[in-house]
Symmetry: C2
Subunit: 204 residues, 2 copies
DNA sequence: GTCTATATCATGATAGAC
DNA sequence: GTCTATCATGATATAGAC
């Protein structure tokens, strides 16, 4: 019974691929390395995935789906743009610590180089959700009237840079330590009503 | 005289490499393609650069040097963090329009995957200059007391995201159109003294 | 469905003439 | 220093037994 069906085979391959791709890059990883890491035969891989790109496609779809789900959950949990954006940054930070490989693959890899048919990252579902979140915030009057791209870039750009820096080993502490400061900065950037912490009055 | 010295040979190779690497990625570009695009022989390339990585190293050093120079110029031209950061974003935006290939290669490529010995981008000279700029701003009292990484990420993160989005074709207008809004958001995020455009007084 | 063994071929790199 | 012709490696992908 050596040739029995292994229902977890696809999962094992995809998981090994995530490890290798996020660690050393797609092009520096050979299919034979994935074979070794996943403990399956190369024949099975090509049977299930068709070609090397197919592995990356399956991985990309899997992680992209999870990320979109996470964003939707976070948004659905609150009513205001302020709370939604904070929850989102908190989850992204937590996810970076819990699954750095996942975040590295999603945020960091140049998918266009090995998945030419995939739309650019910024057109993907999670990014669209971010822009919609910001648009609703503007409609509610929470967020200043700005170009939507500018507003979403400004609200989340700092957090994204912190994630990238953390993955690069530049940031010493776990990201949640910086949550208040980072989200606070992003929110001040776009909020219509600015919190006034320690502002000394100058004239009026 | 066919074997004469061609002083521009290195430049032609590096320029062709920039085109190809930023267009389709380092790993999707063969040395033979560079040969064709640059109009030189493969022998000359290996004579001058040693190996394929050598081409990328030369390109990286060249563009990194130019970028560092540009940052230093922009900073030297002003005294306050406010002006320095605005000038910097303005130049980065202009550079993105004038030389998108350069910006794509510097900001966007995963150098670690093909230049394993190069330090991470965020440790490179230009990024260090950004952090120093922010630190001086804090010392002068222009910038709120924040973690330096958080502050520089928040001040420039929005601009970086706009550059990435523009290179991805998401942003319709040339970046300088958005300069005021983008820099304004970044500055509000970290400024100690917040400009109060249309804030209706609530209580005191 | 899973496996081993093999085919094919493009790539990075070299040799050596001029 | 520049070139052409060639090599050698290792990658993706396939064939076919079980």
């Amino acid at each position: 019974m050596l040739a029995a069906v292994r229902p977890d085979l696809r999962a094992r391959v995809v998981d090994a691929a995530l490890d290798l791709f996020s660690g050393q890059g797609y092009f520096n990883t050979s299919v034979h390395e994935i074979v070794r890491a996943a403990g399956v035969s190369i024949g099975s891989i090509y049977h299930h995935f068709g070609d090397k790109e197919g592995i990356a496609r399956a991985l990309h779809a899997h992680l992209g789906g999870r990320m979109a789900q996470m964003v939707e959950d976070a948004v659905a949990r609150h009513d205001t743009c302020r709370e939604q954006s904070r929850e989102l940054v908190a989850r992204l930070f937590a996810m970076t610590e819990a699954e750095p490989r996942t975040m590295a693959f999603l945020f960091y890899a140049r998918h266009r180089e090995f998945l030419p048919d995939e739309p650019p990252v910024c057109s993907s579902r999670p990014f669209v959700l971010l822009r919609e979140l910001v648009e609703r915030g503007m409609a509610r009057g929470e967020v200043r009237r700005l170009d939507v791209l500018v507003a979403s870039s400004s609200l989340f750009g700092g957090a994204f840079r912190m994630i990238a820096s953390r993955l690069d080993g530049i940031v010493p502490e776990p990201l949640p330590v910086y949550l208040d400061e980072v989200w606070g900065c992003g929110w001040r950037a776009v909020a219509a009503d600015i919190p006034q912490p320690s502002r000394r009055r100058k004239s009026a």
